[in-house]
Symmetry: C2
Subunit: 209 residues, 2 copies
């Protein structure tokens, strides 16, 4: 974001490193315990510093939480670039699904925190839903509608398609524990590849592609 050219002295570098450690620890704890169940004490321990020091970097629990939620939201928005870069529906939607599956694999905790936030009525990021996410969604829906009008894919409601993609991909993060139990252990590389192929294949076939 603002990784400017300035070599940023020891102080600034250290500050960023500690903030990153805290954010990583917070993401894990919030994902495992929820906002109400998470404690600043536990986050501090996991980040390797005293609780009072944690409050030096993030004044309140809410402020820390908000940063964690913002992070996964931005990651998801970036995944849309795969969608936009492609030319047709098969490539665009396929690449978007692959990207979202990869995020579920790499950032399961972030996905869980977002899911919990939305489930609780988005008390902290309601504004994101109403502004950024809304306009983002409308833009992609317009693209899909155009593809449909051009006869390049089956005529489905773009909103429900979007929701199915989100649901199917994020499920592998949010319900990862359930999946691991039913799978008899963590998904292997091959399992993840099969999951990707399955989700992409099923949805694209559902769109007549």
């Amino acid at each position: 974001m603002d990784d400017s050219a300035a070599p940023l002295g020891r102080r600034e570098a250290n500050r960023r490193e500690i903030e990153a450690q805290i954010l990583a620890a917070a993401e894990t704890v919030f994902a495992e315990a929820g906002f109400g169940g998470a404690t600043m004490q536990l986050i501090a321990e996991m980040a390797g510093l005293p609780k009072a020091n944690l409050h030096y970097y993030f004044p309140t629990k809410e402020a820390l939480y908000r940063r964690v939620v913002e992070r996964i939201f931005l990651i998801w928005l970036e995944a849309a670039e795969h969608f936009d870069a492609a030319e047709g529906p098969a490539a665009g939607i396929g690449a978007y699904i692959d990207a979202k599956m990869e995020i579920s694999r790499r950032h399961p905790s972030g996905s869980k925190v977002w899911a919990a936030e939305v489930m609780h009525g988005a008390p902290v990021v309601q504004d994101y839903l109403e502004t950024t996410l809304r306009s983002w969604t409308e833009d992609r829906q317009a693209v899909i509608r155009r593809w449909i009008a051009e006869g390049r894919m089956a005529p489905v409601d773009p909103r429900h398609l979007m929701w199915m993609i989100w649901a199917a991909t994020q499920h592998y993060a949010d319900f990862g524990h359930q999946i691991e139990v039913l799978n008899g252990g963590p998904l292997s590389d091959a399992d993840w590849q099969a999951a990707k192929d399955s989700v992409r294949g099923m949805i694209l076939r559902g769109l007549g592609l």
Copy 2:
């Protein structure tokens, strides 16, 4: 379950009514605030009785929570009867999707509580995942594999199919808030019908049906 013939006197009837009120209130509060964020005080107020009385019916917060989670789990298991009753893949899977969509509409809070429980590693219902859900899943997978072997549907991995159905249907409950924001208001009867048709249609087409 055990609505036996006995006319159950005033006392027993009253007890059941109060327990039902408590469970309904608890489901709502746990869904909105999570286990850690929910308070016995708020549940008691919503159920219309003093907190101490709440503890008379449910000794601990955990005990009350467990009953709430068990409830939605049993409702989902019952939805499988639609699957089992049908003859072929199109009717069976289609009816199962419809039933699960209807549950998302009627019991959104229960679905959210379950989702949060699983996201946090199923601390309370791990045993259900390992026993009931596991064998339930294996049974249905066997049916799907047989349909595939008989050439009655496309050869997809039954596990990923199951997960996609769960993900797509439960998304309408768990992410109901996000959906309402993007939809500009609660889903109407027609919206729900469209959602059902869309999810069922997309998945069945994905299976070559």
